[in-house]
Subunit: 547 residues, 2 copies
């Protein structure tokens, strides 16, 4: 990462946010949109913020891999959700970790866990720190202190098995470095969450990240051959297997465990050949409901498009410049093996059956012709203006969010998944609930919806809200909106999260969603693997036994 430095309070590189004149233009637009003044506050100064003194110091043997520097402690205090960025922007860091550790080896991880277990310090595994659900924020009440374990030094691709298309990869690798290491072999993981640049393989695995593929293999889970996990009770290494029926899947217990059961240090991941053929189309529908029916038809047709993202009119206007009030289905196929015309042709027929039209036709690309639209930030071929703009916008969106935070806007997303049958009521009720909450709490604001992933039995809807906040009260405003939205999601048959994870923020709804026997099993597993209860306390389950 050269000499660029990550922002200690916001998204990405500290020199990559919106320029001052961009921020002023944005503020003017928002002011016009919401009919009230919008002011841009100044970003925080690291030297000016107050950090309490560390409550514990590392033992001498671990000191060389530990930091108590202001930048490290502040930067590891929060994830990158709206609540995090608001507090970071305000310079509020009341609960920074006492120590930030940078293990360089599995032995380091073991030694750190041993130390934390022996002194009763909370140990918080930290990948890219892009959690939006309070996954890395730990007050450490009842603990001797909090140790953030940043896996960023364990970031190598250790081995590549080309015939099996798999690689053994250390958990701390960031998205771009991972793709850089695979590209010379013609391989790619093709896991491109919006956090791609600033999140790690280990983080994706621990939180069941959702990725590039809109259908079929949507979660990182499906790309795992095996995991290596360091727990306080010992190291676990599953076998590299393409499939198995030998007991409950050992990996599935750790996928989604969010750092509560162990530290994922390595994985053998299934890879793809880099796509050579691509086709994409933007299909417009007169109504969102018609688009939903088309999306269902495509999802149930067995075509497995890489991209199949339905945007409601609000999102289509904001993200894709669709000005006629249509909903937009972005349909894309890709293959390393064969031209995809037959697949796209049938996909468009499914859309046409529900009134979908593609006024701009199909954009196709063969082996020498570059790339079509998608969430892939990693292509070596530039595909032209619109494509590069779209891709850049996708990756730069969080910087824009941070600028909105500076303007005291309430801006956040939430997401779920549900069955096709349950979706219409869920969608209507979530919209109604959130719109009412926005009116009551903020006096204005918009909620829009898109599908990020599709399954034969239902969609994964993703909601975005933007509203003018009261500076100083944004968090309580957002908390009220979020609680109303979460309640509506849960009551109408959704999951509290499809791919943002549970963390601490989703706990009340997760606790209701999770079957009690599984909660019992999870707590029992935690007791067995983390007897001192030090690993990421408060995430997924209540702290078991704060020392």
């Amino acid at each position: 990462m050269g000499t660029r430095r990550r922002s200690f309070w916001g998204w990405g590189w500290e020199d990559a946010g919106l320029a001052a004149e961009q921020q002023q233009a944005l503020a003017a637009a928002l002011s016009a949109r919401f009919g009230r003044p919008v002011e841009v506050a100044a970003a925080p100064d690291l030297d000016a913020i107050s950090l309490r003194p560390p409550r514990l110091d590392p033992p001498p043997a671990l000191a060389p891999i530990c930091s108590q520097a202001r930048y490290d402690r502040a930067g590891h205090t929060y994830g990158k959700g709206y609540r995090d960025v608001v507090r970071g922007f305000r310079g509020e860091f009341p609960h920074p970790p006492d120590v930030v550790a940078f293990p360089g080896s599995e032995a380091d991880v073991t030694a750190l866990l041993d130390w934390c277990s022996s002194v009763g310090a909370a140990a918080v595994p930290y990948g890219g720190g892009s959690s939006v659900v309070g996954g890395v924020e730990c007050k450490g009440d009842g603990y001797a202190g909090v140790v953030s374990m940043d896996l960023g030094r364990m970031a190598s691709v250790l081995e590549i098995d080309r015939p099996s298309r798999a690689a053994r990869i250390q958990a701390g690798v960031y998205g771009p470095a991972l793709e850089d290491a695979l590209r010379p072999q013609g391989l790619t993981l093709r896991h491109f969450p919006q956090s791609f640049e600033f999140s790690t393989l280990g983080g994706w695995l621990a939180t069941r990240s959702g990725g590039h593929y809109a259908t079929n293999t949507t979660h990182i889970d499906d790309f795992v051959e095996c995991l290596r996990v360091v727990t306080p009770a010992g190291v676990g290494q599953s076998r590299r297997l393409p499939g198995s029926g030998a007991g409950p899947s050992p990996d599935r217990l750790f996928l989604g465990s969010e750092g509560t059961l162990g530290v994922i240090t390595e994985a053998w991941m299934r890879l793809q050949d880099r796509p050579r053929w691509r086709a994409s189309a933007g299909v417009r529908f007169a109504s969102f409901d018609a688009g939903v029916e088309a999306a269902r038809a495509v999802a149930q047709a067995g075509l497995y498009p890489a991209n199949c993202r339905l945007l409601d009119a609000g999102e289509a206007a904001a993200s894709a410049g669709v000005g006629d009030g249509s909903a937009l289905l972005v349909l894309g196929f890709e293959s390393a093996d064969h031209p995809v015309e037959a697949w796209m042709a049938r996909g468009l027929e499914c859309c046409a059956d529900h009134g979908g039209v593609a006024p701009e036709g199909v954009r196709s690309a063969g082996p020498a012709e570059g790339r079509a639209e998608g969430t892939d930030p990693d292509g070596e071929h530039g595909g032209g203006g619109a494509v590069d703009t779209w891709r850049s916008a996708f990756l730069r969106a969080p910087y824009g969010r941070d600028a909105l935070v500076a303007m005291a806007m309430v801006v956040e997303t939430f997401e779920t998944a549900t069955t096709w049958s349950a979706f219409p009521a869920l969608h209507a009720e979530v919209r109604r609930t959130v719109e009412r909450a926005l009116a009551e709490v903020c006096g204005a604001g918009t909620v829009t919806c898109r599908f990020t992933h599709l399954y034969p039995d239902g969609p994964a809807p993703y909601f975005t809200i933007v509203a003018p906040g009261r500076r100083g009260s944004e968090l309580s405003q957002w908390d009220e909106i979020k609680a109303a939205a979460s309640e509506a999601v849960l009551v109408h048959g959704g999951t509290i999260t499809h791919h943002h994870a549970v963390g601490r923020d989703h706990r009340p709804w997760y606790d209701r969603q999770r079957p009690p026997p599984f909660a019992d099993a999870l707590r029992a597993a935690k007791r067995a693997l983390d007897p001192a209860g030090v690993l990421n306390p408060g995430v997924l389950i209540d702290p078991l036994s704060p020392v």
Copy 2:
């Protein structure tokens, strides 16, 4: 099931085995093949076998759903593996369950578990009883007795959600009855293990059954929306979700738990529209190795064939009448949505790249034209002589196995999965090891191999052995061969089972394969959910706390 009765010792209906003249012809052929006399022994007589008296009786409140009848106790003593059928054929039933219970409701299941927990009786969930790994065989040492819980009365499809293509199904339903209930809606689960006629949804779920699809969604796991599980600690009901990232998957802990953590009573299952277009081809390869390369190419091409099963020369000759020493890849596509020519064309190109030829061309069928070859025993259209023969042979094979048992042959299968890179050495070493064991132990015999399922990162090889046994010593002969094979599988990177499950028979190798921290977690979960340790003791893990 009318008035037909299941065999108490062997496969399927007791009146459906090979006729006497068929058995004599088979014996003559085997005698010629192995150069030694082959005699057909008489099947056992239920009234003549010795069953120890029950060690415990049900309480009065449960007596109406319990049986201690000779037929029920003998019939629930074993699964249907080779070791089971040999012992059943001999009339050896030293450890029958003391009680066979037939719960008709979840309340019955709970009451049975409460009773077993209170008196310290082992409770063995029983679906179709088709386990080939000792999954339902429980001696009950250290327990007050053994209660087999046959779910066969809980066998209804309770609800169908047509738009989401899903149904709520009771666990005790057998394959044919399930498909009968779905057919009027144009739906199908498309899960067709060889045991289809005599196995149940609950059994498939508890053992991570492998099914119809050779690629992509191979295991029953992938078709589960949610589970309902009765544990001694309470009832768990997960949410109907097409996808979720809310913590570790609650369902994946119970999938493959083989009755050790609870009794699966219901599931919402993802369904398919019934296929309308099909295409299949038999592709021949001069060598198995060339076929392997072609299978890999197809598996990595993103074509998702429903069928893609590679038979080595021995299997191709025995199962498909291929007499020229070729390996055979049976390639099939099916769709409810679109013609599959483009998919088949590219699949055949992948094969041709590795020297594959399809001398009989492609067999295609459209909506009105019936069906092509596959493992689908459920089509309403007869597809012609070869197809019906193949399908019938697939489903009737276990009856043939039973006839071989009567002739003191050693006949069994074992299966695994491994990466493409590891497969050649695994295959060579398993063959070498088993051939040596057959020569030493039986003086003759054959081992053949096919791929039952394929993944982008590796195949699931399935081995079949046939050898002349010494009557009375077959089991020790088989045990020696199986141990050698299992050792070779494990040492060369395979899983001890891809879809046959662990049961009691695979325990030594499963224990070595399973990461120790996961074993700790599993034992802890068991303690939490089954505190009296009554559920299927000895499967997956050692009995925890025999009362």
